[in-house]
């Protein structure tokens, strides 16, 4: 299959060997699970249980609310101990409404959702509904509700479902293991999704550094037409949706558009597996595979983890974290996020938990920019990070926006390569947040302005009406008076005449 080059990109040290040969193991069931209501993009889910309720495994705990949201289910059986605010697994450390579930240790299933016997005979809406019901979100880390994405076939003419198995982040091997160990589920899930999307073709793209995953997927794909497995070059950020689409199809997604606009929808391999389980087994999303790795972890592992497991428990299962840990990251080291504490929960988007040492992060105090241009050379989006950063430093956000700071995907290639160790992505994230806030502010001001204008116009209209009424009344009164006077005159005249 012909591949197309992508712009820029870097080759960070991979460090996947720490876990790539570790088969997925199951985590013993934790005593207590902590399930934040927001484990996805969009509106938080709405609780359907109360404190004290006993629930079965797979039972709905919270349902989706709004157009972009996802349902949440009990990963095991037990009692709802609390529904309370707890620290979210997000660098802000802000509290978030969380369901606390005490396990009863029996792991008893609720009545399962009915199996869809022949998904290829089912309608697209039926598949979509099932995926929504199962609470599946994009498991590559973006956590966009999958059912919403499966509806793209309604507005777009789709040709390809591109299954993302690139896994270009260093350390992470959870997708690699899923592809190796559950190739059948992945391919089946992909075919079901393609059916729902109305896409005639499935292409599974895997970075060339995962030959076993490619082999097992190929063996599986050979059993069915219309599924191709392709090895893509090892080049970060190959796993970025738009870049993977470009590499595999040569199609460049226009700015501010979706890959669906070029006929391609991208889903993660682990999402495909979850879809397979929801459709074929009637199983909602209750767990995910997490890579626990990094130089500060005693025994790095790939683990099938029930959602809601605390990070500290996960790390304990891997022999604990050494004192050398400098940063604890959720996700990969390039685009992952630092965790505010080890008490936060594993959620649907947690692909990895990394405990990194100073040597691994190689962080140093920034030195002055020497304009080496590396950030320009390696930016996969064709941006000029050095210039954007200097505008942002000087508080010229409009200029930074003009040269494309909002087109930045925060992949971190520029920061990684910068010899001066300048935290460029940090600047860009700040600018993007600030620009969005300013936009909201501007819209709000405009809205207020138009409301005030409407209000003034209404007052003006009322005043006008009042004036007109008054004038009318006055005119009527005057007319009446004049008539009366005329009458009186006539009368008096008449009287005089009489």
């Amino acid at each position: 299959m012909k591949l197309f080059p992508i712009l820029g990109g870097i080759h960070p040290e991979y460090r996947k060997e720490l876990t790539s040969e570790k088969a997925i193991v199951a985590l013993p069931l934790p005593k207590t699970l902590y399930l934040p209501l927001q484990q996805h993009m969009g509106a938080p889910a709405n609780t359907t249980v109360n404190v004290g309720d006993t629930v079965k495994k797979g039972q709905l705990l919270a349902k989706a609310q709004g157009a972009i949201s996802a349902a949440l289910h009990a990963p095991t059986s037990g009692t709802i101990a609390a529904i309370t605010e707890m620290t979210a697994p997000h660098p802000s450390g802000l509290p978030q409404l969380t369901i606390v579930l005490d396990s009863d240790g029996k792991d008893e299933w609720a009545e399962p959702m009915p199996v869809i016997a022949d998904p290829f005979a089912a309608s697209a809406n039926e598949i979509k509904a099932r995926v929504a019901e199962a609470g599946i979100v994009g498991m590559g880390g973006a956590t966009f509700p999958s059912a919403v994405k499966l509806g793209l076939g309604n507005q777009h003419k789709l040709e390809i479902l591109l299954l993302n198995g690139a896994e270009c982040e260093p350390y992470l091997t959870c997708d690699d293991r899923v592809m190796r160990e559950f190739a059948e589920q992945v391919v089946d899930g992909a075919r079901i999704m393609a059916h729902a999307l109305g896409a005639p073709k499935v292409i599974i793209a895997v970075e060339d550094n995962k030959p076993q995953a490619v082999d097992s997927l190929k063996a599986e794909a050979a059993k069915t037409p219309n599924v191709d497995v392709v090895g893509v070059p090892v080049q970060y950020p190959m796993g970025a949706e738009r870049h993977l689409t470009q590499a595999v199809t040569g199609r460049e997604t226009p700015a501010r558009k979706l890959t669906a606009d070029v006929g391609v929808v991208v889903h993660n391999v682990a999402t495909a597996r979850a879809v397979h389980q929801a459709v074929r087994l009637g199983r909602p999303l209750l767990s995910r595979v997490v890579t626990v790795s990094g130089g500060a972890v005693a025994e790095p592992k790939n683990i099938e983890v029930p959602l809601g497991t605390r990070v500290s428990e996960l790390l304990d299962f891997c022999g604990g974290v050494s004192a050398a840990a400098k940063r604890i990251i959720s996700g990969g080291p390039m685009m992952g996020q630092p965790l505010p504490s080890l008490d936060v929960a594993v959620v649907k988007g947690t692909s990895g938990i990394l405990a990194l040492t100073q040597a691994e992060t190689n962080e140093h105090a920034p030195s002055p920019c020497i304009r080496c241009g590396s950030c320009v050379t390696y930016c996969p989006c064709g941006l000029v990070p050095v210039e954007m950063a200097s505008y942002i430093r000087n508080d010229k956000l409009d200029l930074a926006a003009k040269i494309g700071v909002q087109d930045c995907v925060s992949c971190g290639s520029c920061s990684y390569i910068c010899p001066s160790h300048i935290p460029l992505v940090h600047f860009f994230n700040y600018a993007k947040g600030k620009i969005a806030a300013l936009d909201r502010e501007r819209r709000k001001t405009e809205q207020t302005k138009s409301l005030v204008e409407a209000h003034n116009a209404r007052l003006e209209r009322q005043a006008q009406a009042k004036r007109e009424a008054a004038a009318k009344a006055k005119a009527a009164k005057e007319a009446a008076e004049a008539a009366a006077a005329a009458q009186a005159q006539t009368n008096s005249a008449g009287g005089a005449n009489a």
Binding site: I10, V262, A325, T361, E363, S367, T377, V384, E387, D407
Partner: protein, 358 residues
């Protein structure tokens, strides 16, 4: 365990650093430098050391005055490059005070008056060279024929000390012009290039750098080797050197074909003066050259063209330093006009059209 959560990712960083970059450049310069120090003997070594020391002192003084930490700044290696390149651009037997004046202008004026590392508009070493070139033209255009160390003609310790720190070398006795200077002078006397070329060093001597010239510019193969090393280490890219040298070569070739009496060939243009040193080590200075590849191509073209024009039409036989400084002044404009195309957008910055709607 003290966990930090103060910033966005990435939480891993490549092995590169400013220091590593700078020292790689120095390593790339080393072979040509050592060869030329050997070629021009003890006075050249003294002058090299004086320039390096003067630049380092200027750097430390400027940083102390602005309240910084001199140790850390000296450690980044940037001033070592300035001093090194400046030394290579001086006549090897120039007196010590020429080097000191050049160093002061290079480091204090060209670099620190603009705000220090990364802020300067002009290449510091070239500013230093040009200042002394226009101030002390006699000292700056008096070259010597190579007298390698440990050979009979090479000056001894006492004589070398006198050359560098004393009354200078007797200009009339051993001073000579660089090949480009010689041709220029002959041409002004009405001698056509074709004739003066007969007393020009052979192409072979040119290749091995065995001819009069500045301290570090004559050893073309070793400079090329250093340049290729920098490309291999991805410190520089081919864009500036290739576009500069190609432009210079083409201009020389075209005009010497049209009018051989007045113009030297493309090969002579390439092998003489600071063409190679300039192409690989001076024009490629990060701080003062454009950041995008297309901007670098334009920059290299400009340096090549200006070098040829200055060599051909201006009063100076050699033009690389002037050409680089002139193009440095254009770098901010080149940076504005030469940007890569943003992914998903047209060159003008509009989103690409969606398939189907045009």
């Amino acid at each position: 365990m003290s966990i930090v959560i103060d910033k966005s990712g990435p939480f891993t960083h490549g092995p590169n650093s400013v220091q590593r970059t700078m020292f790689t450049v120095l390593a790339a310069l080393a072979p040509a430098t050592l060869y030329n120090l050997w070629l021009f003997g003890l006075p050249a070594i003294f002058l090299f050391l004086v320039t390096m020391a003067a630049c380092a002192l200027c750097e430390a003084a400027c940083i102390r005055i602005s309240g910084g930490n001199p140790d850390r700044a000296l450690g980044d290696g940037s001033v070592a490059i300035t001093g090194w390149l400046l030394a290579l651009s001086l006549p090897p037997w120039a007196p010590w005070w020429v080097a000191v004046v050049a160093s002061v202008f290079a480091v204090c004026l060209a670099k620190h008056a603009f705000g220090g590392l990364g802020q300067n508009v002009f290449n510091p070493a070239m500013v230093g060279r040009v200042v002394v070139l226009v101030s002390f033209p006699l000292q700056m255009t008096s070259f010597v024929t190579p007298k390698p160390l440990f050979t009979p003609g090479s000056p001894g310790l006492a004589e070398s000390l006198t050359i560098t720190f004393g009354r200078g070398f007797t200009l009339d006795g051993i001073s000579t012009a660089s090949p480009l200077g010689f041709i220029k002078t002959e041409l002004s006397k009405g001698v056509p290039v074709t004739q003066s070329l007969s007393s020009f060093p052979s192409l072979g001597d040119m290749m091995i750098g065995f001819h009069p010239g500045s301290m570090g510019e004559t050893a073309v193969p070793l400079i090329l080797l250093g340049g290729l090393f920098l490309m291999w280490r991805k410190i520089i890219s081919w864009h500036i050197p290739v576009s500069m040298l190609a432009t210079l070569f083409l201009m020389g070739t075209i005009f010497s074909t049209l009018d051989p009496a007045r113009h030297t060939s493309g090969m002579v243009q390439l092998l003489s003066g600071a063409s190679f040193l300039g192409a690989f080590f001076i024009a490629t200075d990060y701080v003062t050259s454009p950041v995008s590849k297309s901007g670098q191509l334009a920059f290299g073209f400009g340096v090549g063209l200006l070098t040829w024009i200055i060599r051909t039409y201006a009063g100076y036989p050699e033009g690389v330093a002037f050409a680089v400084l002139l193009m440095n002044a254009l770098t901010p404009i080149l940076d504005q006009h030469f940007r890569p195309r943003v992914f998903g957008r047209t060159r003008k910055g509009e989103p690409l059209p969606v398939r189907g709607d045009k």
